[in-house]
Symmetry: C2
Subunit: 513 residues, 2 copies
C-alpha cells in the first residue's frame, strides 16, 4: 500500500498544467504502459483506469483530467478519451458532473464490501509440503524449450507454430460468427460429458477422411490437446501391473504419463522403419506408436512394417495407441494410411490434434476409438474436467465447416515444404559431422553428432549465439543413448532465417570438435 | 455413398426452371437447414456448399445455380450469394468461368489424396474391452440433469446459467480485442506449464480481494473449471492409503474423484452450521469443505465454526480443500470470509471458478495454494494437458480488466436476489409438506419431503409436467439418507417462470401423498 498512499497525497486535481509537474507525472505514470502502436487504444485506456480504481491508485472523488488534457498527454484523439469516459460512467466507475468533469465514483458497495484485509502469505517451506504429496510430478525429465523462443533469431524448435502462418482473418471470421446470440446459447452450457456435435461432425466429414479414417460420432471424443488424450487413455488402461511399451527413443511426455501409473514401462526397439514388433512388444498389453513420423527420429514406418505390427497386436491382443501427431501437416510424396485406417481387428486407439496446425495455445485434440472405449473415456473426462471449452469447439467447427481448415493446411504445407527443401540443401554443406533422418512429411530432422558429443552443452552454446535446438537425451529412457543427438524443427522459424541459422549452428558444431 | 450417387445422376445443370422439378428439389435440399432467422446467412450458405463438396454431393464440374436463381430459391439477397461464391472461388472450392458461371472445382489434390477407403467399424462388444480397463469411471453415481433442460418450461436446476444473463456485448468486446494480431501472438503459443500472466494479475487485483484473499502470482493456477482443480489436488495428495474426508451429504463429483484414488473416503458429519469438526475429521489428512454454502444443504458456516475447523486443521495438520463454488455470485447480507482468508497456518487450498458466473461452457476455474503446492500442480497439469486454452484466458483477462466482470456480477446478483425473494414467498404456500434450507447468498434450496418420499420418482413425475428438480440420493454416500430430499436451483430459470413452476411442483408433490 506504500506506493498508492504516496500517490494519493500528491492531491491530484485533474488539471494538467502544460508546463509539467506532479500532475502530469502522475497521469503519465498511470498510462505508462500504453501501447500506441497497438490496436484497441480506447480499450487499453479503459483497462488502465479500471485497474487504477480497483487497486486504489485512483480513490473516490478524484477528478479525472479533461478529455482534451488527457488526449494531449497520451497523444490520442480527444474522441477516444470521451468514448472511454462515457463507457466508464455507464459501468459506474466514473460519474459525470455537469460543467465540472468526470470523477472517480468509488467502487459499487454491495460486492466485496466484506474482507479486504486478507492474509499476507508467509514463506512456505517446500519440505513442509513434500511429505504430504502422493507423487512428485515436477521430478519428471521433460523436453525443455525456452519459453521466450520467439526472442531468438534462429528458433529451430518443434511444434511451436510460426505466428506468421496463423490464418488470422479466417479465424476471426469464425470466432466472430461464434459470438452471435444463438451460437453463444449453444456453447455457454455445461454439456457434462458431451462435445459440440458440430465439431464432431466436421471431424467425421473433413478431417478424418484425409487420414483414411471413418468413425461414427460415438467413436470420437475431444480433448485439451493430444497430450490430454494420451493421459486419459493411459489412466483408463494402465494399472500398476500393466506392461506398457514405448518406442526407444520416444516421446518423453508419453513416457512420463505412463511412468506415473506403472513401473512397467518397457522400451521398444526402433530402427530405420520405426517400431520393431519383437518379443518386447509382445510382452506388453499396451504400446505407444508414432507410425507416421517416429518421435523423435522422424522416420516413416513402411506399409509392410505397419501390417506386421497390426498382426502382432491382433495375435497378442495388444492395444496400440497411435499418436498421429502431425499426420496431415505437410503431405510430401505418397501418403501411407495410419494404423487406425488399416486395422481390421480394432486394436488401435487414434490420437490427433487440431491445435498443432492452428495454434498450440488453443489445445484442441481428439481420440478416435471403439465406442466402449470412448464411453469410458467420456466418463473419466467428466470426472476430470467435464469437456474442453465449448466456445473453442464451436469456433473450430465453423473454421473447418467454412473450408478454412483445408485452405490453411495447403498454405502451411507449401511453406513447410519450401523450408524442408532449403534444409535438405544446407545440412550436408554446413553440418558435415552430423548424420540425420527426416521421413516424408515430418517437420523436423533428427541429427546425430560425433560419438561423445553432449548436445545439452551444444544446445547451450548454440543458444548463446541465437540458435535454439532441442537436445536429444530426454527422448531416451537411458539418457546416454541419445545424448549425441538433437532435434531440429522448422515449423517455427521464418524461412529467411534458416540459412543464416544453419550457418551459425555449423560454426558452433565445428568449434566443438 | 448411396445417397450421393443418386443425387449425382440427377444431372444438375444449375439452371433452375422456375416451374420446379428435380433441380429445384436438389438445391432446396442442399440448403434445407438454412436458418433464415439466424445471423451470418452468407456464412451458413458457404458452409453448406463446402460440406456438400466435401461429402461428394456436389462433384467436380457441376455448375452452380446463378446467383440470381439461388438467391430467389433461398429468399436471400443476390449480393449474399455473390459474396459467398467469390469467397469460395478464393478458397478454390469453386471456379468462375466468364459468361458461364460458377463450377465446382473439385478438391485440391495434394491433401488427402491417399486413402479415402477407410474402414467400416464393426460392432464392438463392451465385454471385449471391459477386461482391459484399469478402472470403470462410467460406473460412478452422478448428478443427472437432462441435457435438454432448456426445453423444459420450469428448469429448477443448479449451476446451469441462464443464457439471458450472459453479458453478450461486453464479452464480444473482449473476445474481439483478443483477436488483434498482437493478442493472437500472445495466446497462440504453447506455454507448457504456464498461464496467461494478464489473467493471473486480474485475479489478484479484482477477483480474489473480494473474497479477502491476497495471493502472489506463484500461488495461483488456472484450471479447466473448478472440477479440474479438484481432480488435480486429489491426484497430488491422495495415495491408496490416504484418508480423505467429505461432507455428508456432499458434492458427488468430489466424492467420485476421491473414490477413484483411495478406498478410504470418510463421510464427515454436517449440521445446520455445515461441517462438524469431530473425530472423523481428525482421522483424515485431507478434507473437502464447502464453507460458504454447504453443498447440497446450502447452509452457511458461521465464523465461530470456521475458526474451530481451522484450529482442528492446524492441530492435526489436515489439508482443507475449500470449494468456494459460488462465493461471489450473490452477496446477500454480511459476507463471511472464506477459510482461505482466515487461515494463518496455511492449511487451506482454495478452489474458485470464473465460468460459473459467466458460462459453464467456458470451463475457467482456478486454485489458490502455497507456492510449493502450485509448483507440483503445474507439473501435474503439464503432464495431463499443459494448460487451459490461452485464448479464453486472454478474453477473460480483458473482460475483467475492462471492469465488465464487476458490472456483470452486480447485474447477476440483482436478478438472483429477486428470484430468491419470490421463492421465499412461494415455498411455504405451495410446498407445505416440505422443509428447506438456503443460506445467504446461495442460489439453490435444499428441500426435505415427508419421510419415505423417493425424490427420484418425484423428479420423474415433475419432469413429465415440465418441472426439472434434482433428486437428493446422489449427494449422500448412503443413498437412502437423502432420498427424501431434492435440490431446487434458481440460476437457470427465468424469473417469470418461477411462480407457475412452483405451483406445478406443489401439485405434483401434493398428489404423491
Amino acid at each position: 500500500m506504500g506506493k498508492s498512499a504516496e500517490l494519493r497525497h500528491t492531491d491530484v486535481t485533474g488539471t494538467l498544467p502544460s508546463a509539467g509537474g506532479a500532475d502530469v507525472l502522475f497521469w503519465g505514470s498511470l498510462f505508462h504502459s500504453l501501447d500506441r502502436g497497438g490496436s484497441f487504444l480506447q480499450l487499453q485506456i479503459r483497462q488502465m483506469i479500471v485497474t487504477a480504481i480497483e487497486d486504489g491508485r485512483l480513490p473516490l472523488g478524484i477528478r479525472m483530467p479533461s478529455s482534451r488534457d488527457l488526449a494531449s498527454v497520451l497523444k490520442v484523439s480527444r474522441n477516444t478519451i470521451v468514448i472511454a469516459y462515457e463507457q466508464l460512467v455507464d459501468q459506474n466507475f466514473l460519474v459525470s458532473r455537469e460543467r465540472s468533469g468526470y470523477f472517480v465514483a468509488g467502487l459499487p458497495k454491495h460486492i466485496g464490501a466484506a474482507t479486504r484485509e486478507g492474509v499476507v502469505a508467509p514463506s512456505d517451506a517446500d519440505e513442509r509440503w513434500a511429505g504430504r504429496f502422493a507423487l512428485k510430478p515436477s521430478a519428471t525429465r521433460n523436453i525443455v524449450k525456452p519459453l521466450d523462443w520467439q526472442a531468438y533469431p534462429y528458433p529451430f524448435i518443434f511444434g511451436q507454430f510460426d505466428p506468421s502462418l496463423f490464418p488470422t482473418n479466417d479465424w476471426r471470421e469464425s470466432a466472430r460468427a461464434a459470438l452471435s446470440v444463438p451460437e453463444i446459447n449453444n456453447w455457454a452450457r455445461d454439456l457434462i460429458d458431451g462435445d459440440d456435435p458440430a465439431l464432431i461432425e466436421q471431424l467425421q466429414l473433413q478431417v478424418l477422411p484425409r487420414r483414411g479414417i471413418r468413425a461414427r460420432s460415438d467413436e470420437i471424443m475431444m480433448t485439451i490437446g493430444a497430450q490430454h488424450a494420451l493421459y486419459l487413455i493411459a489412466k483408463l488402461f494402465i494399472s500398476p501391473a500393466t506392461r506398457v511399451g514405448i518406442e526407444e527413443p520416444g516421446y518423453p511426455d508419453a513416457r512420463n504419463i505412463f511412468g506415473m501409473l506403472t513401473s512397467n514401462v518397457v522400451p521398444l526397439r526402433t530402427d530405420g522403419d520405426g517400431l520393431v514388433p519383437d518379443d518386447a512388444l509382445e510382452s506388453c498389453s499396451l504400446a505407444y506408436v508414432t507410425a507416421s513420423h517416429q518421435c523423435p527420429t522422424a522416420v516413416v514406418m513402411p506399409l509392410a512394417r505397419r501390417q506386421q505390427l497390426l498382426q502382432a497386436a491382433r495375435a497378442r491382443d495388444i492395444v496400440l495407441i497411435e499418436d498421429d501427431y502431425e499426420g496431415e501437416l505437410m503431405p510430401e510424396g505418397p501418403e501411407l494410411p495410419p494404423l487406425m485406417s488399416l486395422d481390421r481387428s480394432r486394436n488401435v486407439l487414434y490420437v490427433g490434434s487440431l491445435s498443432k496446425a492452428l495454434a498450440p495455445g488453443l489445445r484442441l485434440g481428439y481420440v478416435v476409438a471403439p465406442a466402449p472405449v470412448i464411453k469410458e473415456l467420456r466418463a473419466l473426462r467428466r470426472l476430470m474436467l467435464r469437456h474442453p471449452p465449448l466456445n473453442n469447439q464451436r469456433v473450430a467447427a465453423l473454421f473447418i465447416g467454412l473450408g478454412h481448415y483445408r485452405t490453411h493446411l495447403q498454405q502451411v504445407a507449401r511453406v513447410l515444404l519450401e523450408r524442408a527443401r532449403i534444409l535438405d540443401r544446407l545440412l550436408p554443406e554446413h553440418l558435415p559431422d552430423c548424420t540425420w533422418s527426416r521421413g516424408a512429411g515430418s517437420t523436423h530432422y533428427w541429427l546425430s553428432c560425433r560419438p561423445g558429443t553432449d548436445t545439452t552443452k551444444l544446445a547451450e552454446r548454440a543458444r548463446a549465439e541465437g540458435v535454439v535446438i532441442e537436445p536429444g537425451d530426454v527422448f531416451s529412457m537411458d539418457e546416454n543413448a541419445s545424448r549425441h543427438c538433437f532435434r531440429l524443427g522448422f515449423s517455427s522459424i521464418r524461412t529467411d532465417r534458416i540459412e543464416p541459422g544453419i550457418r551459425q549452428l555449423g560454426q558452433v558444431i565445428a568449434r566443438t570438435r
